[in-house]
Subunit: 293 residues, 4 copies
């Protein structure tokens, strides 16, 4: 299939690579054009100077941007009218359901299918093609473009109608935030009372309070003070706020989710745009005046 | 060694059995005496009519009660004076560090060592002798009584001075509460927005927001609506409040832990004394008017 | 001026009465038509069978409905096209800024001015014409329709552009929720510890923690157990959620506001549609198992 | 009566002055002795070099220290044994009920009455003798020492048994914290959305969300950016944590109180020991990136 890929960020690049290697004819576009040129150099991948030119011929368009608002903006800047009738837009942005539904409604009138398809698994998962892909949208549309999704995704789950993929992704991220923050509170309080975080984690990870955060993130990134920058706190903040919004929209009281979203926003403000999401522990350490190490 | 075991509850019984089977000479006592008689029937285990008589000859006393206050009460009812000088009290209650420290100080003056040694692993772990035991106290004292602890524990971790075992256990339980509540909020909001909890869990458990709660408790107990009664919500409430207390005592702001403790207390009040800890999801379902199934 | 009044609820009726008595030519409409007929009986007030017919001739349209969504629905049901170009819509609904802005933009294209003008002061203030009116919109438009607003409002405050009136109203309501809930927590905990709520209020109301809630609502409505139904909890819930939404939209971490919104939603669900807003104290009493009386 | 006054802080000094002027024979002691000497210079007030010497002859001892722990420490440093049997200790510290009860029990065995009697009204109230005094303890004991309390207090309220005065004071302070924080959240969100805080306060203070914080503290101290240092945030933090502790001890879920206590602790850590309690708004401003002015 002819595929256009918009958004060559840390995750987008390896995803696009895998699509090209899977035999699809690929055109890429990125807001900062030099990044697209670097990406395509020496390959048969085409670089489009503008988003409308990128999507004009495509059977399938994949977007991988920061927010749903970014997707809407690219569409409003000419890409919408350039989309081929009968084509499909797979939006791998970690978006919000309300905006995705609005985009889908506009595209439907234009006879373009929309699938929200946020991913999890990080850069490594993208490189290895083992991402989990959470799809929201029409089952037939998803089936039609599966060859493209399978280029980068291993576990491809149809979550429900448009917006369902965004919703599941956002809730996963809120749980990530809650477990990082909760584990931070526990380990800071224990450290201050004289218990080694390493010992505490050894016990917790053999007990009922364990989570991906306690089993993987804390031992590898916090105890070591390595804090590799794999996923920005700014994005976790955004995702947690989407989750909080979904709970409000659905009239579901979700006090832990709401509080975690606010704590992520505070940490984002305090730690800055470049901080990694796991660095949120530093806020709790500062508040409690003890270090997890 | 001569061992006295006080408190034959759901966890205490299999622990005491394993101690007897390991070859220690066992005397048991339980507040409701008939339970002790039933327990010992047809075995070589002695039943003491009172706690002071149970502990009088023991090298090692193991207590496994509901709260540290219960332990203090038993000691105040004559057991304190009856304890043999040079003996050791292993308190497997999920207790609170402040009370444990107070008990330890009193016992030290009497030349009795105190070890707080709460366990995790549930009834099954107790039966199989695979409990995790979190020890707080003097390293030499722990070493001396290790043959008794090894009768029921597989992973035996020295967490720090007296109270450290209680503290680690409480924080693990708070994390258990946080992950059950957080996962409940996520799945109720998703269910209300039309996403199947089963599908959502499939994705979350392949992603970064997963926890013991999402990987084990929700698939086995919530989706199935089985809600087996393995650990009472009343006890999770107590444990989460101990964790909240530790954070306050250490002057560590821990807003998620505090909120989770209050939510457990509300659920405990709403769902009653006999509810299982996982049933806390029912409170969130009621609040959000959607079911996780 | 020719005025159309849509929405004859508990507050709307006395407001409309005052507009008629101030000499304006009034046409009213209400979804339940019998209420409009009862209202107008024996007076010179006209009753319109439909909203479009009510607004067709009006210089000024006043809406006083439950939510901004209700206003939008009435407009979508034909009233929009029926509005006279050059007329002004004064929306006294306790609305949300986002919807008000959307409505205003649509009306502007139709050359109809929009003012969001939620009120405070209750039924009594409406009857006496002493309401506080929080206006959002163009200063000139507000000046033009001031004779209508002055019929029911005493303190008329221009808060800013469209949506500003809604925003101030919502934040006032969130503070109302926070002070009722906070005072409830304080008095329930004190009652349980043996301090009379009456004595506690006497002290607090002479001290720094006092609020409208502690000074007026608790002595008059809670201690007496009178709980008159003057303003529904369902509406406080809605208002607090609007406030929480504004904080999220503005990216302002507001953890107390978010938590109070969720607690209002829980109370609304538990206490039902007809409960008064002050009855929220009953939820805290139930949770804490002590009464404020 | 012979009165000993221990603790010449900002509130203690004017209280002690009024006791002397009311005709009581006064001996003072302060940990930093020079402050006591400065205080007494040129008057008939005696200065004692140690606390035990100060209390030895007194019919009534008044303590006005930072925390109950400070009171306990002074008693443990020799003052306890020096107290005259039949004398009364009036503790004007904003203390915690648990410690007050422990002190009272020890003093009772020594035939010394204990009254917890924290005050509100600030330095100005102390100078003018118009403090509100919240008394916990035996009614007869309070009656006996009323001439001393009346020297500085105008509204003297018997709240209940020992600890009740502390409890009421702590809950008042928690409500102060909640109203300052809540009003901060509202005004920061409104400021960021373009509404002037002055206009917002004008409306709120004519509406149902008003409180002492919105009516007095914000107009006088925040809008003006004056932030006079009248009561340290460090003390509000301590008081709010006492309130949170009372709720936990009474098993009353009090999520707003718990959250406010944590937010005060965070603000205390961020803004330092010398910050005034109203400066807590600066934390919310920083988080929300907008100023209330």
């Amino acid at each position: 299939m002819k595929v256009a890929f918009l958004g060559l960020g840390a995750i987008g690049r390896p995803m696009a690579h895998r699509i090209a290697r899977a035999g699809h004819q690929l055109t890429v576009w990125n807001r900062t054009g030099s990044r697209a040129a670097d990406f395509a150099r020496g390959s048969e991948i085409d670089v489009a100077p503008t988003a409308p030119e990128a999507v004009a011929d495509a059977d399938v368009v994949v977007t991988c941007l920061s927010t749903s608002a970014d997707v809407e903006e690219v569409l409003n800047d000419g890409a919408f009218e350039a989309l081929r009738q009968g084509s499909t837009l797979i939006d791998c942005t970690s978006g919000d359901p309300a905006t995705s539904k609005r985009i889908a409604a506009r595209l439907a009138a234009w006879n373009v299918a929309f699938i929200d398809a946020p991913v999890s698994g990080g850069v490594k998962g993208a490189e290895e093609g083992t991402l989990t892909v959470m799809c929201g949208g029409d089952a037939d549309a998803i089936a039609r473009v599966k060859p493209v999704i399978e280029a980068f995704g291993k576990k491809i789950v149809h979550c429900g109608p448009v917006g369902a993929g965004d919703a599941v992704k956002a809730m996963n991220q809120a749980l990530l935030a809650i477990t990082i923050l909760g584990t931070s509170e526990a380990l800071v309080a224990l450290a201050k009372s004289g218990v080694s975080p390493q010992v505490a984690l050894e016990v917790i990870n053999a007990s009922s309070g364990r989570s991906n955060a306690s089993m993987n993130l804390f031992p590898e990134r916090v105890l070591t003070r390595a804090f590799p920058r794999t996923f920005r706190l700014a994005l976790l903040d955004k995702d947690a706020r989407i989750a909080a919004q979904i709970a409000r929209d659905e009239k579901v009281p979700a006090p832990l989710t709401q509080l975690a979203a606010d704590l992520c926003s505070v940490a984002h403000m305090e730690l800055g745009e470049e901080a990694d999401h796991v660095e949120v522990v530093k806020m709790v350490e500062r508040w409690g005046q003890a270090e997890v190490q």
